[in-house]
């Protein structure tokens, strides 16, 4: 009987305050959708960054005067670095083969000689593929007398890292604003519901009702708004993925991540609704009761 009473009161509240309730649901839906979009964008950027770092090759070019046996000594020196995962030696001849593979012409036919230098292709362990270490590594290796130049595609990594960082920072900023907006709207809806029912709250108090029974319909109201907002957002996510995944293959998340994403969207909606309404209900009920 108590449970039915609470449910009935909850849905009465929702129906009576339907306009602010709809506004709250809409805000939660928009906020969660933006949140997911930011999460997906960060996910894609991090994946790209990870792939880029995993495939990052540091090329160490030796001076043209360095003979092949000295190159072997350089290789031994490089091997001393524990941060290196793999070293590949590329002789002048191999470099000419690679040139031919990539450009379809033999460099000897074009220039009558092979100007390509002897080099090493180095792959660092993934945890050392960050700009700070790469620049230190470059300096150290370039200091070797046999080495002419060290080269890697640092600018792409740095740019992508900056973009990812900016997206995450913007995401956190937007998240704070959105959570505040959701909080304010849910509080406002709860406030309207509490004030619309202040007489009933007062009567129930006089009849000896505990606080929980009085608060529960309002708390459930917040949870319901969060649930519906979350469901709309998850539905939006599913629909968007169905249309966008074929055009943007990067959005093809693993099925488990995708499932977790939309389930968590709904859970997040409920949690936000529940916590905000639970926090504000007591405040407004006490205000109403002390005002009488």
């Amino acid at each position: 009987m108590k449970f039915l009473f609470v449910l009935r009161q909850t849905f009465n509240n929702l129906w009576r305050e339907r306009t602010p309730v709809l506004a709250t649901i809409l805000t939660i839906f928009i906020a969660l959708t933006i949140l997911i979009a930011l999460f997906e964008l960060s996910w894609v950027l991090y994946n790209q960054l990870y792939e880029l770092k995993r495939n990052l090759v540091v090329e160490v070019y030796l001076k043209p005067s360095v003979p092949a046996d000295e190159a072997e000594q350089v290789r031994e020196k490089l091997k001393a670095y524990r941060t290196i995962e793999r070293i590949r030696y590329i002789s002048k001849a191999t470099a000419a083969d690679i040139f031919e593979e990539e450009f379809g012409e033999n460099i000897m036919d074009i220039l009558d000689e092979n100007p390509l230098p002897t080099s090493f292709e180095i792959r660092l362990k993934s945890s050392f593929n960050h700009p700070e270490y790469l620049s230190v590594f470059k300096k150290q290796v370039e200091a070797m007398p046999e080495v002419d130049e060290v080269h890697y595609r640092h600018s792409v990594i740095e740019k992508l890292e900056n973009v990812t960082e900016a997206v995450v920072m913007a995401g956190i900023f937007i998240l704070i604003i959105l959570v505040l907006a959701m909080n304010l709207l849910i509080r406002n809806t709860i406030k309207l519901s509490v004030y619309a029912r202040q007489r009933q709250i007062m009567i129930m108090k006089i009849l000896g009702s505990g606080n929980l029974l009085i608060r529960m319909p309002f708390i459930l109201e917040g949870a319901f708004e969060g649930l519906v907002g979350g469901i709309f957002s998850a539905a939006g996510l599913i629909v968007a993925h169905r249309f966008l995944a074929s055009t943007f293959p990067l959005l093809n998340f693993p099925a488990r991540v995708y499932q977790l994403l939309w389930i968590n969207t709904v859970i997040l909606g409920i949690v936000i609704g529940l916590l905000t309404s639970a926090a504000s209900t007591g405040h407004f009920i006490n205000k109403v009761y002390s005002k009488k």
Binding site: I203, L207, G208, L213
Partner: protein, 236 residues
């Protein structure tokens, strides 16, 4: 038993809503609290169901004392008291049945029991046929009968009625008084505040006279009380 010992009540910075009240109300009595508007009758009643706590002194209601009562205990106390108000305090958009059943719902009684108790009470106040009607559709007299039914749902040891006839015509007022008399006849204490002297003039119940937040002393009460009845009746 209800006991007031040196009770004073101040509302905010306004002192003297009640001044040094000493009273003892025995179980099973029908007691009338009389006095003009603003004399402190409602404040006295609110102290009994601990809607306000005294600024000084102690109110004891059964085993509960205002001196050290927790919010949880106040809820328990209120579940043992029936309260009837001048403005009925019904939830207008709820049905009559739901209004009367509210105290039982609060305590989590089962549907079957609630139905049985509420229908019996509605029958007793002559409103069984109105169970599904919204409270807002009833006449004022009917609303007060619903409020009395609600006050009785938990078989309280006392029913407090704060100006229960204040908004009613003569016939409805007499109906309400007769309902309260029936409740008292079944062994429940009744404490009724009123300034409708005409209605209660022939009743044999104990009277407490109040004026300016004070209970008038018993030896002066009867005389002053009788003079006041005549005075107010003339003015009205």
């Amino acid at each position: 038993m209800i006991q007031f010992s040196h009770v004073t009540v101040n509302y905010g910075y306004v002192p003297g809503a009640l001044k040094d009240i000493n009273l003892q109300l025995r179980d099973g009595d029908f007691t009338l609290i009389l006095g003009p508007t603003g004399s402190g009758k409602s404040t006295l009643l609110r102290l009994i169901y601990m809607d306000i706590l005294p600024s000084g002194g102690v109110v004891k209601v059964g085993k509960w004392s205002s001196y050290r009562i927790t919010p949880r205990q106040i809820n328990l106390l209120r579940r043992n008291i029936g309260v009837v108000f001048q403005d009925f305090k019904l939830i207008e958009n709820m049905s009559v049945f739901d209004n009367v059943s509210l105290p039982l719902v609060i305590e989590g009684y089962r549907r079957k029991y609630v139905k049985r108790v509420v229908n019996t009470l509605l029958d007793e106040v002559g409103l069984l046929h109105c169970g599904d009607q919204r409270a807002s559709t009833l006449s004022l007299g009917e609303k007060q009968r619903v409020a009395i039914a609600r006050a009785m749902t938990r078989n309280p040891f006392i029913v407090i009625a704060d100006e229960p006839t204040g908004n009613l015509d003569r016939e409805a007022s007499e109906n309400v008084l007769s309902l309260l008399q029936r409740i008292h006849g079944n062994g429940t204490s009744v404490l009724m505040a009123t300034h409708d002297y005409e209605l209660i003039k022939d009743t044999p119940y104990k009277r407490i006279y109040m004026e300016n937040g004070q209970v008038l002393p018993p030896d002066r009460t009867m005389n002053i009380g009788k003079q006041r009845i005549r005075l107010l009746t003339k003015q009205e």
